[in-house]
């Protein structure tokens, strides 16, 4: 890696008040989203999903099924939007790409020794390059949390910028794994660092650690994005991942994005949900909006 360009002094560490953050989040959850706004919100959320399978037991068969679901969310409603992307391990990128590329669905690949990130930087960079050359449109990397806790911020920063370089044209999502960072001050600091190092998106979690995405953590990351936007005019995307499994919660996340960042962030270019079971609940609510009746879970495909 080249000599570090990380400049700690340039990043102003900022105080975050957890009690205040939680109160603000509670306030988003009192927003009442009805009728047309609800329908629009549900469709928007559906279109923001990174439909994900990241299991040790993933197979080509599993990935095929996931990709089909990504493009055929519900047979009864052919005019529904597709999800934004499918998110898979690097070894399945080529297959996924061949199945969804013509549907306008992106392929995201995790990389950099996901989920722990405990490996050598050179392999992480190689892995990223490999995933991109297989056709990945987006790379979801994890930061080295161990190094972060050691205070070795320059290492973390340099690794992100090296991976960003390896991404080429692919967009880079930087996973902070907030469940391992310990407090909201660290979440804000890590967000700033990831953005400064070249992240196109910042992402909460791998989904392998609890807690994964929470509203307070997401709010703090959105504030980091807003502060960056105020300072530079450059938009950064946000992806909460893991733990958002129902439609109501997803809509409240969107309210949060609208009120903190603004409506220009309300598209899958700038906001994503990393989720696997959220899609079906959104579909269920959409069907309810259309027909007035809740359908049983059996009407929604499990892939």
């Amino acid at each position: 890696m080249a000599k570090s360009t990380f400049n700690l002094a340039a990043i102003r560490r900022k105080a975050i008040d957890q009690v205040g953050v939680e109160e603000r989040c509670a306030r988003f959850q009192t927003r009442s989203i009805k009728t047309d706004a609800k329908k629009q919100g549900l469709k928007m959320a559906l279109n923001m999903i990174d439909l994900t399978t990241l299991e040790g037991k993933d197979t080509e068969g599993k990935v095929r099924q996931l990709c089909h679901k990504a493009a055929h969310l519900h047979q009864g409603f052919p005019d529904l939007p597709n999800v934004a992307a499918v998110c898979v391990y690097p070894t399945f990128v080529k297959l996924a790409k061949s199945l969804v590329a013509d549907k306008g669905i992106k392929v995201a690949s995790v990389a950099t020794a996901f989920p722990s990130g405990q490996s050598f930087s050179k392999y992480k960079i190689e892995e990223t390059k490999e995933a991109v050359s297989e056709g990945a449109d987006e790379i979801d990397m994890v930061i080295s949390r161990g190094r972060f806790h050691q205070g070795d911020y320059a290492y973390v920063f340099d690794e992100i910028s090296a991976v960003k370089e390896a991404c080429g044209k692919a967009r880079l999502k930087v996973i902070l794994e907030t469940g391992e960072l310990g407090n909201l001050d660290a979440v804000y600091f890590a967000s700033q660092m990831a953005i400064a190092a070249g992240a196109d998106f910042i992402k909460t979690s791998t989904g392998k650690i609890k807690p994964a995405a929470t509203m307070p953590v997401t709010l703090v990351m959105l504030e980091a994005i807003r502060d960056h936007y105020h300072a530079t005019g450059k938009m950064i995307g946000m992806k909460p991942a893991g733990g958002i499994s129902n439609a109501k919660l997803a809509l409240h996340y969107l309210i949060m994005v609208k009120e903190i960042l603004g409506e220009e962030w309300l598209s899958n270019e700038w906001f994503r949900f990393g989720a696997s079971s959220l899609a079906n609940d959104l579909l269920k609510q959409l069907v309810k909006q259309e027909t007035g009746i809740y359908q049983s879970a059996n009407y929604f495909a499990l892939d």
């Binding site: 008040d17 205040g20 009442s32 009805k34 706004a37 220009e264």
Partner: protein, 486 residues
């Protein structure tokens, strides 16, 4: 990557709270001795929904004779029942009021918002639950008063006259009635003339709770009715919440009489933001401090002091936040800022807006549309204000924030204390030692650190200087309704 801004708009659809479950009578009489009776004045005045200017109901105007009747009823109830029954029995009735209030919470919230203009979100989540909490808290004290004050034998005072304002009608009624009853007193309460409905509904609830006749009497009317109550010779104590001007009148009128008094008056709270504060959360606190309940809050954080090094950031974020406040129909569940309580109050606020502009301060208002009918004031921020201006000196009682910058701790403490008021203050910093330094030097009854407008029945509330005296809530609040002889 090229910056691509897409045109997306996602507006919230209307989410109105239903009002079908609420019954409001065409006319309300006075609640005296357990019954609703028509006023001897034969006069009624109209109460208006400030969001629509529609007349909701007619309210009886109590005259001198009615006040006398109410005080007599309270005296009779004090002598014959309320001072005779056991303290535990008193507690039982107050618990019953608390539970009934919780059961009918939605009804009370809807009426509070219809009559007063406050957003249903606030009446539902703040006013009504807190009112119930006050009854619960004080019910528990009823039979434990001997333990609240060591080495004294607390005794009740007798008949208490209580006059409450229009900004938190039901909550203020609860703040007044609950401790008075728990301490063994009987009550004559007068709500503000623009917001009598929830107090009258509370009268119905108190009757339904089986509280003995005459223990709580609720009489309605304007300042003149209040004056009759204050001057009635058989009242043992006056508790008043309202403007400093009226508070001074009451104090003059009680001078030389044996009547006790507590006053909770105006305020012009300093909300102080330091450079090291959690800025985004501080901005939220600033908003809650001044735009909560349209700024009709005696402890509102109406003077904002920001350390100059972060002033630009705070102003930018504050304006951004102001533009995401939803202003309008109080009955919509998404409304953040409702209607101004009355036409008169709107005129007062507008007078101050003009004064601020005339002084040449920069005025910013939320970029929102407000309904044509009704009384509305957009959330307003004045920046670069000086300590010597009218808008940073006088209580506006509306959604108007006056911001000044400061440089040192000593400077900001001097300026924060440089006011005749002293009700509340807020401090925003990440440094604990700074908080303790300020809280011990700010002359305010309540100082909030890294939060604002937090209320709890266990915590005493009240003012310094011209913001009044006496405390409400907590053990301190009990002592205001007891004679504490050794």
């Amino acid at each position: 990557m090229a910056k691509t801004k897409k045109e997306i708009s996602w507006d919230l659809s209307p989410a109105p709270e239903s009002t079908g479950h609420v019954t409001i009578d065409k006319r309300y009489d006075l609640f005296i001795d357990g019954k609703f009776v028509s006023p001897t004045t034969k006069k009624y005045f109209k109460t208006v929904n400030p969001a629509t200017e529609e007349v909701i109901s007619e309210i009886a105007l109590a005259g001198k004779k009615d006040v006398d009747k109410a005080v007599r009823a309270a005296r009779k109830a004090y002598d014959s029942t309320w001072s005779k029954i056991s303290a535990a029995e008193r507690g039982k009735y107050i618990y019953r009021i608390a539970r009934l209030l919780q059961e009918r919470a939605r009804e009370f919230a809807v009426i509070e918002s219809l009559d007063g203009g406050k957003p249903i979100r606030e009446s539902r989540d703040v006013d009504v639950p807190l009112a119930a909490a006050h009854f619960f808290y004080h019910a528990g004290w009823s039979d434990k008063l001997d333990y609240a004050f060591a080495n004294t034998s607390p005794t009740s005072m007798g008949v208490v006259g209580q006059i409450i304002p229009w900004n938190f009608p039901l909550l203020m009624a609860a703040w007044k009635i609950a401790p008075a009853l728990a301490c063994g007193n009987t009550v004559v309460l007068k709500p503000a003339e623009t917001t009598s409905l929830t107090a009258l509904k509370l009268a119905e609830l108190i009757r339904d709770a089986g509280v003995p006749d005459g223990v709580v009497n609720i009489i309605t009317g304007a300042g003149e009715t209040g004056k009759e109550l204050v001057e009635h010779p058989d009242v043992n104590k006056i508790a008043f919440t309202g403007s400093t001007a009226v508070g001074k009148m009451i104090r003059r009128s009680l001078a030389g009489t044996p009547k006790k008094m507590t006053l909770e008056l105006g305020g012009k709270a300093a909300n102080i933001v330091f450079e090291d504060a959690a800025i985004d959360q501080a901005v939220e606190g600033i908003v809650n401090g001044i735009y909560f309940n349209q700024g009709h809050v005696c402890c509102a954080g109406s003077r904002l002091f920001v350390e100059e090094s972060v002033a630009d950031e705070v102003v930018k974020k504050l304006k951004h936040r102001m533009n995401h406040l939803i202003v309008g129909d109080p009955m919509d569940k998404n409304t953040d800022v409702g209607a101004i309580n009355s036409k008169g109050q709107l005129q007062t606020i507008e007078k101050y807006l003009k004064a601020g502009e005339k002084d040449g301060f920069e005025m910013y208002q939320s970029q929102v549309a407000v309904p044509k009918k009704g009384y509305w004031c957009k959330p307003t921020l004045f920046t670069n204000v000086s300590q010597s201006s009218i808008i940073s000196k006088e209580e506006i009682f509306g959604p108007v924030l006056a911001m000044q910058t400061f440089r040192t701790i000593d400077e900001v403490i001097d300026k924060a204390n440089n006011t005749p008021y002293g009700l509340s203050a807020g401090v925003w910093t990440d440094k604990g030692s700074k908080i303790f330094n300020l809280t011990s030097r700010l002359q305010a009854g309540v100082v909030w650190a890294n939060t604002f407008n937090k209320f709890d029945p266990t915590s005493p509330f009240g003012g310094y200087k011209e913001s009044g005296f006496g405390r409400e809530g907590g053990i301190h609040g009990l002592s205001a309704y007891l004679n504490l002889q050794g």
